[in-house]
């Protein structure tokens, strides 16, 4: 049986840890060595007949106009924010969710990830209020908190992505 290929887009502000999450899952141990993504970087992960083609998008504002159109064709979106930076969550609601709706429509399965759980300082109230806004705009299927530093939540996130991938018709 041919491998089912699913395009997963990781997006969100610069420095929230998108590449660290992906590389940690792929077995990279020392995340302090991970360079910031400029443009896009493509990785893949396979499990039980499914291949996730993971697109890691740079969060840099300088090049956003160039990068964002590459979101086209995604089957799942992962929006990542930093649990210690209010701005990164606020930007998911005011910027990134708009790009997603504009390019992929509101129905695309979207996973929200709060990374850097080890240094979390945003209140749960503030997070929940923003999630409410995101759910009103997007098809948010789950919210997961991770720490790329300690690996917390990384496996659950990818298990979740493979589960969603299974349900998608391509």
């Amino acid at each position: 049986m041919p491998m089912k290929r699913v395009k997963v887009a990781f997006a969100g502000d610069a420095g929230v840890g998108k590449s660290s999450i992906i590389m940690k899952y792929l077995g990279f141990k020392d995340i302090s060595q991970i360079k910031k993504t400029r443009g896009v970087s493509i990785e893949n992960a396979k499990y039980s007949g499914i291949e996730l083609i993971i697109w890691d998008f740079s969060g840099q504002e300088h090049f956003r106009d160039i990068i964002v159109p590459f979101l086209n064709g995604s089957n799942i979106v992962v929006l990542v924010f930093d649990l210690s930076e209010a701005k990164t969550l606020y930007n998911l609601v005011t910027k990134w969710s708009n790009y997603i709706v504009e390019l992929l429509g509101p129905d695309i399965p979207t996973v929200i990830v709060g990374n850097k759980r080890d240094i979390k300082n945003l209140s749960d109230d503030f997070i929940n209020e923003n999630l409410k806004e995101l759910k009103a705009k997007l098809n948010v299927v789950s919210y997961i908190e991770t720490s790329a530093l300690s690996s917390d939540g990384i496996d659950s996130l990818f298990e979740n992505l493979f589960e969603i991938a299974q349900t998608i018709n391509i």
Binding site: G39, I42, I53, S58, H62, F63, F70, G73, E85, K87
Partner: protein, 269 residues
């Protein structure tokens, strides 16, 4: 060598702003400072090397104590602020003199970040290396040199004697190696479209300090390399038609960048 003063351009009022360079602790990512620009604050973030990696602008707001308010106390100085309850969705700053509150308000919930305010440094303007080079060659010629470094990193690149040292220094900083730079007179004619993108980035960095200018050009080169690598990977994974689809997408967004990438990957769509 890194200079003591970082020079940045405010994305809102375009004011050239000089501030003392700071260094972020390596694990914490970015160290932020705020600069008072009258009706807004320019927020500047430094990385662990002291290079500006981020800037943002927050409008300044002053609330009067009327109507429905949420009362908050500044965690640093204790001063009370009364924030309009009717604002359901906004981000703004409140000036507290030597520090500023950055407020993110979503629904009835808000988060506050406190940033130290620093004074601008008023020093004699000093031209960065790129601006010095541009006294002798045009932006397009310099863009051509950079593009050649990407396209043909092993072939000789000819530059005039009077800018040889400066070009070599800048390119070594950007690419890590510039041993292929030679003195001479280049007669090559240049197709301008693939250069426009780099040329626009060069003009963006002319007023910045050397570190910030070189860092932005480096980011631009890395963007080009990552797009090239992605197109090659897409071709390998999905075939030429899919790679072409992404190239056409790029063509719609930025013609110059499309021509440049297509020149490097050489895919016939």
């Amino acid at each position: 060598m890194i200079t003591d003063i970082a020079i940045v351009k405010c994305p809102f009022c375009k004011r050239i702003t000089r501030v003392p360079r700071l260094y972020a602790p390596s694990l914490k990512g970015i160290k932020k400072i705020a600069v008072n620009h009258d009706d807004h604050f320019l927020i500047i973030g430094f990385d662990k090397y002291g290079v500006v990696r981020y800037y943002d602008v927050f409008k300044k707001i002053e609330f009067v104590r009327i109507g429905d308010n949420i009362k908050i106390a500044c965690p640093l100085c204790g001063r009370s602020e009364f924030i309009d309850k009717n604002i359901t969705f906004d981000r703004f700053s409140i000036d507290h003199g030597d520090h500023v509150l950055l407020v993110y308000k979503v629904g009835e919930k808000l988060e506050i970040e406190i940033i130290n305010v620093v004074r601008q440094v008023y020093s004699v303007p000093r031209h960065n290396m790129i601006k010095k080079i541009l006294r002798y060659i045009s932006r397009k010629e310099f863009a051509y040199i950079i593009v050649e470094m990407i396209r043909n990193p092993n072939s000789d690149i000819i530059v005039p004697q009077n800018i040889y040292e400066d070009v070599k220094f800048v390119l070594k900083k950007i690419f890590g190696n510039a041993s292929n730079i030679k003195v001479g007179y280049s007669k090559k004619t240049v197709n301008s479209i693939p250069l426009d993108f780099i040329e626009s980035k060069i003009s963006e960095v002319e007023d910045l300090s050397d570190e910030e200018a070189i860092s932005l050009i480096q980011d631009t080169i890395e963007l080009i390399t990552s797009l090239k690598d992605s197109i090659v990977k897409i071709r390998k994974l999905y075939g030429i038609n899919e790679a072409c689809k992404y190239l056409f997408q790029l063509e719609k967004t930025n013609l110059s960048l499309f021509k440049l990438i297509n020149d490097i990957v050489r895919i016939k769509c």
